[in-house]
């Protein structure tokens, strides 16, 4: 009898509809209006790589030890260095980072002994060309500059 009542009066369907009705409240809107509204990524987010520089004189922090290139599973980092005879130190000449093959595992960042290489919170890394995804030293130091859309 109870089952017949529930079948005839569509109790099970109305029960479901009541759930969807409860969730109609506009304060439950979760959609992020992306280009207008910037998402907040976590502090530890692993995004675009950056090669840190000393803020006062613009010198690189990188000591060209090549550990990041060795740690990288995809071997996409190429570190170029040159021995400076005056200071008897290895100095960084070029740094290439192929973001098209990067899977942002963070192993290069972990390997860096001086915190020069860092995966930052920038996440907009699209480029119009394949070559644009291969970042050189200048690009790594300056970081990506995506267009900011506002409405």
């Amino acid at each position: 009898m109870g089952k017949l009542f529930r079948t005839v009066f569509l109790v099970d369907l109305l029960q479901g509809l009541w759930v969807t009705f409860r969730n109609q409240n506009p304060k439950f809107i979760y959609t992020e209006q992306y280009p207008a509204e910037r998402p907040k990524v976590a502090e530890r987010y692993r995004g675009a790589p950056r090669l840190n520089i000393k803020p006062d004189n613009g010198e690189t922090l990188c000591i060209a030890c090549n550990l990041c290139a060795l740690a990288c599973p995809e071997t996409l980092i190429v570190v170029g260095s040159e021995r400076n005879e005056a200071t008897r130190r290895k100095e960084l000449t070029e740094f290439t980072y192929d973001t098209s093959r990067c899977m942002f595992c963070g192993l290069c960042e972990d390997a860096c002994p001086v915190d020069a290489l860092e995966l930052t919170q920038d996440f907009e890394m699209a480029s119009y060309t394949r070559e644009g995804a291969i970042w050189d030293r200048q690009m790594l130091e300056e970081g990506p500059k995506p267009t900011q859309y506002r409405n």
Partner: protein, 370 residues
């Protein structure tokens, strides 16, 4: 041999996939149909083959860890746990207690995320559109915890060999507790939407039957096995990472149909919350990373470690030849083994149920093809 014409043939061969939304990826199923009835199926896999096992032979032990996340990408944390446990067994080290508890919390959160994705897409396949939005809404909360913890949402690379790299962030416990309190009413809400719904019940009850004996024959594990009435969960059967300390139950059902598998997974989410609640209250202090050198060089030997991933038994077999790279990595993926049972479950059923059965097996093609 009698002469056959096109009109005589009753069997229609139909390709389903690889670009079919309900095959959950790039699975191709060749269906042999007699009208609406399915006479047989043949799975064609390999469209997502990346050679993960071979990649493992050419990477160091640490370098291979991000790749295992990309097999079952909806449960990346579980994959990482299995791999790290296998290498730790080779090295004969154990993660510190703090790391073990943190690992349990993260893997159980990942189990919830994986089941939520399954529930959303499975309901979508059956024709219920609403649950997918609700499930993804709650899954987002889990992914936010992952992002705050390790900086990535999906392919997390959360665990390292010997423990965890990152210390738990401030407010981790609070965030996890808030999620637990928020989540239980939400599971009830999904159940309210689906469990008694007549369309849902009619589409799922008695569909894709797989008895306990057949499950064992095929080697099927996970919720599919438990829905057939076998109380087998590796977290209880051979506890790893300190699972023996937690009080939880293995949900089982008896019929072994699609509806029972749905009920088992719903109950599993509740049990996961139970484990998380116990674990988050007793996170010990101390180091989070064990004493493992920068260069991982296990002694000659082999190790097999299997864990209970959201989809079933996930095993890693690693052979070491005392170098920095594994000699051989073999993965026993739950999805691949469970997929074998598809033909048995589909045969004799209706073509519309194929979609329901693929959904209920909860396969991820990244793991099937590797």
């Amino acid at each position: 041999m009698a002469e056959t014409t096109f009109l005589d043939s009753t069997e229609l061969v139909l390709n389903m996939g690889p670009q079919h939304p309900s095959t959950h990826g790039v699975l191709r199923v060749i269906l042999k149909l007699d009208g609406e009835k399915v006479n047989g199926t043949e799975c064609v896999i390999g469209y997502l083959h990346r050679g993960v096992e071979k990649i493992g032979e050419n990477r160091t032990y640490q370098q291979f860890a991000p790749y295992v996340d990309r097999m079952d990408y909806v449960a990346a944390v579980s994959n990482g746990l299995g791999y790290c446990l296998a290498v730790e067994k080779l090295l004969n080290v154990e993660a510190p207690p703090r790391a073990q508890v943190a690992r349990v919390i993260l893997t159980e959160l990942n189990r919830i995320a994986s089941h939520l994705l399954w529930l959303g897409t499975h309901a979508l396949d059956i024709g219920a559109i609403t649950p997918v939005f609700y499930c993804f809404r709650e899954r987002e909360e889990v992914l936010k915890i992952f992002e705050n913890y390790c900086g990535a949402r999906l392919t997390t690379h959360a665990f390292r060999i010997g423990g965890l790299l990152y210390e738990l962030y401030d407010g981790f416990e609070q965030e996890v507790k808030t999620f637990c309190d928020m989540f239980i009413p939400k599971v009830d809400e999904y159940e309210e939407l689906l469990t008694n719904n007549r369309i849902w019940v009619n589409r799922l009850k008695g569909v894709g039957l797989l008895s306990a004996e057949e499950c064992k024959e095929y080697g099927v594990t996970g919720p599919v096995l438990r829905a057939a009435g076998v109380k087998w969960d590796l977290r209880k059967a051979q506890p790893y990472s300190g699972y023996e300390q937690y009080d939880f139950e293995i949900p089982t059902r008896t019929n072994g149909d699609t509806y029972d598998r749905y009920m088992v997974r719903m109950e599993e989410m509740r049990q996961s919350i139970r484990i998380i609640r116990q674990a988050v209250d007793k996170i010990p202090t101390g180091p989070i990373m064990g004493k493992v050198g920068k260069v991982v060089k296990p002694p000659v030997g082999e190790a097999y470690v299997s864990i209970e991933a959201p989809k079933g038994e996930l095993g890693y077999f690693i052979v070491s030849d005392n170098s920095t790279q594994p000699y051989r990595v073999r993965v026993r993926p739950p999805s691949f083994v469970n997929l074998q049972a598809l033909d048995r479950m589909v045969r004799g059923g209706l073509v519309a149920d194929v979609v329901a059965i693929i959904g209920t097996l909860d396969i991820v093609l990244g793991e099937v093809d590797r």
